[in-house]
Structure formats: C-alpha cells, structure tokens
Symmetry: C2
Subunit: 358 residues, 2 copies
C-alpha cells in the first residue's frame, strides 16, 4: 500500500492509500477557490447526566443530497472539481469540510455547572472506492484489507492529535438513516472525550475485573444459535440482548484494544468474514440494507486493558418496508424495544442468500 499526503485548497489534509499496482503518482492540485471553513464547534457537559454533547452550528449548511453528477466524493473530472483532485483513486481520506470536531477549535474547558469547551478533535471522511455506484459489501477482499489498514493508520494518527480521547471509525449507509451522500464512504471521529457508551462498557468491565466480551464470545460460540459466521480469528453473531431489529457484532477471538493491534492475518480474515456478513445483511430483504457500522475501540489514554475491539453493525429496518423509530422509550428513557428476537434474526440471516454470491 502506498500512502501519499497532499493538501486541499483550503488547507485540509488529504491522504491517498493506493493498493493497485501501477497506480499513478498522486500529484493533482486542488484548483478550487475554497475559503477556509470557520469551525465554531463547542462541547458542553449535561449536568443531569454528566455526558458531553457537541454543538456544531456551522454544520447546518453542509452539503445535502447533491445529484450524482455533483458528488463531492467522486474523483475530479474536467471542469467538475470535487473534494478529491485526482481523476481516480483506490482509498482516500480527507478532513471533513464540515467537521463536528476540529484541531482548529481553540480555548480551554471552562468549569462550572455546565462545563464547556472547544470542540477539539478531528473528523475525517474515508472513501472506500472511486466507484460512486457500488457498496462496501461488493468490494474485493483485497480492498477491504486496505480499508482495515487505513482505519488502523488513521486510528494511530488521530490518537496522536492533542486532545483526542477516543477514535471512532464508522460507516452510515442508506437514506433511511439520513446519509446525505450516497458515494460509498465512512467517517472517522476523533472525540475530545470518552464516549458515553464506551464509558458505560468500561464501568461494567471494571466491576467485572476485565472485559466481559471474552465471556460473551465463549457463550455465543457455545450456544451457536445466534452465530452468523465464524472464521479462524473472528466470530459474527447476533447479540443475545440485541437492541436493533437487525444487529450483528463481529468480534476478534483475541483481546486487542484497537485496530492497529490486529495482525496481518487477523486483518485478512476480517475482510473475508465481514464481506460474508454484509452479503447476508444485504440479502435479508434483497436490497441494500440501511445500516450503521460502528467500531468500538479502546480510548486513547484510559481503560485500554479493559477494552476489546469489536464492530457493531445494526439497522433500523424492522421489515422490508418498515423502519424502527427511536421514539419515547428509546430517545426518552434509553430503553430499546425490539420487535425481532435475536434467535429469529440469526436464523433468517443465515438462510438469506448472499447478495454478492459469497
């Protein structure tokens, strides 16, 4: 994999990760007249819950469902410059033009009843392919391996950014969860705090004397009823207490804190098992499933020995044509009501034909 760092017209960093033999040198210049974006991101801590919230008013003006011919994630074509100056690419990462967190946010945290501070951090976009019309599940195993290497590279890089406390690679896919750009891409957030969900998991792990994911993995592999796919280094299963009508966790057999800690074998093996999982997910209703894929990694500075890397993939689609909404119980009280039993979902996923013939 060849790595080339360049700069966009407004000073943002763009990094090309090339896995194709003979890919051209990445020398194209961003010709746009692009003003540097003001970032007014702020964080405040809710005094009732102790949880941080990000306020990013400048994001109201972000790009919203452009027509395909104007996709900012496609390569640049003559007369139609995009976020990626090159004419094609393999995998490319660049700083988000409308970031929720930014290294340019300035100021100190003010204490008080409602502590507040600058939204320090970094938000990146990861384009998985220059092909606008494909999807993650249709990528080649080699390309998925490149993406894993890119996630690991960015986790290491963002972990070194001053103020970043947790690195979160994720993919939002599908209109139904509000994706504003349909080009196959993910995002990476470098948060200035440990996220509430991770804090909760760390508290449970601390009380248990270590991560409970190892026990969960053994339990799921022993029961078998919720397992979707197994490989040498990973198991994919519907969790016994699934919150979402479609939910699969992909867990490495070895306890590692984050993506950079994975061996080359584990990375190759992940590519294989994840593509099988995505094939079943998109096969479930024979349509591209709207989903969120969320990497749970150890925080940068705390709780690393209590953490166990894993990927949680879930969907709001509760039937082919019906959505699960997060209404009063979920949004008000954080109690998920799931209309689908995990065992039933697992059986349907296992018997779903893979959409990509894998």
């Amino acid at each position: 994999m060849r790595r080339t760092v360049r700069t966009l017209a407004d000073g943002r960093e763009i990094i090309y990760f090339d896995d194709t033999a003979g890919a051209p040198e990445r020398t194209a210049v961003d010709t746009r007249d692009l003003p540097r974006n003001e970032t007014r991101s702020e964080i405040r801590r809710d005094p009732l819950t102790g949880e941080w919230v990000a306020l990013a008013a400048h994001r109201q003006t972000r790009t919203y469902k452009p027509p395909a011919g104007l996709c900012p994630l496609c390569p640049t074509a003559p007369g139609r410059p995009t976020e990626v100056p090159e004419a094609e690419y393999d995998v490319v990462v660049f700083e988000n033009r409308f970031p929720s967190f930014s290294q340019h946010a300035v100021g100190a945290v003010e204490p008080g009843l409602v502590p507040r501070g600058p939204g320090v951090g970094r938000c990146e976009v990861v384009c998985f392919t220059s092909d606008h019309t494909t999807s993650f599940g249709a990528l080649s195993p080699q390309r998925v391996r490149t993406v894993v290497d890119v996630w690991a590279d960015r986790t290491t890089a963002l972990s070194a950014v001053p103020g970043v406390a947790q690195v979160f690679p994720f993919e939002n896919r599908g209109d139904e969860i509000g994706v504003t750009l349909s080009h196959p891409h993910g995002q990476i957030y470098g948060y200035p705090f440990v996220t509430p969900r991770t804090e909760r998991m760390l508290a449970v792990a601390e009380a248990a004397g270590g991560s409970v994911l190892g026990a969960v993995l053994a339990y799921e592999r022993a029961e078998g009823t919720r397992v979707i796919a197994e490989s040498a280094h990973w198991t994919a299963f519907v969790p016994a207490a699934a919150r979402w009508p479609v939910e699969v966790h992909v867990v490495p057999h070895r306890q590692v804190p984050d993506l950079p800690a994975l061996t080359p074998d584990e990375r190759d093996d992940f590519a294989q098992i994840y593509l099988r999982v995505l094939g079943h997910l998109d096969g479930l209703h024979d349509r591209e499933l709207p989903y969120i894929a969320a990497w749970h990694q150890a925080p940068v500075h705390v709780g690393r020995e209590l953490s166990w890397l894993h990927l949680e993939v879930f969907s709001v689609l509760r039937a082919a044509d019906k959505l699960k909404y997060l209404a009063g119980s979920e949004s008000g009280m954080a109690v998920w009501i799931n209309d689908v039993t995990p065992e039933d979902l697992a059986a349907r996923l296992r018997s779903a034909p893979s959409r990509y013939g894998r």
Copy 2:
C-alpha cells in the same frame, strides 16, 4: 372529574375520565369478537452495558397507519367498533393491545451472563380527546389539567402493579418519529426495571449529594438567555447542553418525585405554561412539530429523594424540512451532535408566534 372503570371484549381494562358536566354514564359494551392477545414479551440484560432490553416479537403485527375512518382511538360509531365503546369521551385510558410489557407475562428472572426474564409491566394508551383532528397544543387548559390528573392517577395505579419499577408517561407526536396513529394520544409505560437514562441521572445525583436539577433551574433562571416561559410554579427552558435541535425542559420550582406529588395549583399552572410552550413549538415552523414529550419521574422503590420530576420535550426537526437522524455518533457511541445552539433555539422559540394564539 368522574372516573369509570370498564372492561374491553378481550379483558383489557378501559378507564373513562370525564371532565364535562353532564357527561353520560359510561355503560357502552365492547361488541367486538376480540381474541385475547398472546404476550411474548421478554427482557434481557446486555452483558456489555448492564442495560435491559425488551423483546416484543408480537408487536410486529401491530396496527400500522390506518386510514382516518378506521382509527382505533376514535369513539365507536354505528357499525364501526373501535377500542373505545362509547360514542364520545373526554379522556380515556386503556391497556395497549400490543404491549411491550404486560401483567400477564409469566416466569422468573433467570440469572447468567445474559440475565433474562418475563416482560412484566403494563402499557397503557391515553386518548386526550375524542376529536381525531386536533392536537395537544390546541386543548383547553381545563382539559390539560384533566390529563395531568389522569397521568397522576395512572402513575399511582401502575406503581402498585407488582414488578413495576418506573412509570413513564409520554407522547410521541408526528409521522417523522414513526407515530402509527395520528389521533391525539399518549402512552404510559410501567417498566420492570429502572431505565438506563434515569439510572444515569440517579448516579449523578448520588455523587452530588442530591438532585442537580435545582441548581440547573437556578442557573437557567439567573442566565435567562435560554428561558422560554416562566410561571408561579414552573420554568420552561432550553437546556444549556441540549442534545436535540429542538428541546425544552419544563421544570417545577419545588422538588417533587412524581406527578401524584403535585398540588392542584401546580397542576393548573402546568396546564397554562405547557400550552404556551406547545404554542411556540408548533409556531416555530408554523406546522405541527413532530415531538416526543417525556416525563421524568422517580422510580417506584429507589432514589426517590434524589429525583426531581420534570418534562423533556424534544424534536428531530432540525429545519422546517430537514430531520436530525441518530446515526453513527448518536446510535453507536451515544454522543449527540447538535447543529443548533441552545441560545439560538431559545431566541427563535420566544419570537415564534404561538400557533394557538396564546
């Protein structure tokens, strides 16, 4: 207020609360041939977070957006029986036909890595008026007072149901949050556990030596910039660390654990201030705002002295025609990114014309 308890064809309880002078006796019989619903509700505790999840597979078949002529919450008309046998009503409460929790769920909690048990509890529907086409914000103050009394009545009743640990009255309003019935109505859940959000607030209160909402109230009233409305007994404000693009908390000036503890004056006063708040909310975009209104009450058995009753009203509408989606950051990591600053929202709400002329 007159209270009449009756029984529906399948054995469910229905309770009429009449506030109109001369309302007829509630003697109508449910003539439907309605089988008793199987309730297969189960709860399981997520071993990674320690949080309970409800599995309610029977709810997949629940009524989904019926045409107005077939609304099950309207009064019964000749030849068209509904959930309410009477020909009209003031406020009526009945057990949900497709409950997430039920008193008929049987069995004991099984311990283990993933503790599980029956979904014991009770779910009720509250119809605020027999008028299908109106909304909560257009009710009279007298009717809202009746609704407060009904919520208090049901809180007391559900708190006495064996196994119920927390009572949660709420209203989901609007297509955009997945409401399947447009008739003005709310719901009440009697949960068999303390909800994760309440647990979190109790942990913060315990560490602080008491509820922090009193300090928050004093802070908001002193700052003033986020206050929407004030009355003798209540203040409504946008919280300084709002998670949602529209969010208002309505807080009583006196620390009470739950709705039954409110005095008659406090109840009347709530009706006035809440109608003003709803007028501003529906005036914001001059449309019926989709919203969730969630009552935070003390659990039945624990943490009552740490709790401070309040109502949280919030919306996913981030602009007149754009929704806030709970994507990777919110659903994956429980970090809310809000594109709207609380101060800006408060100013816009204060200057919004009240949709109901109040």
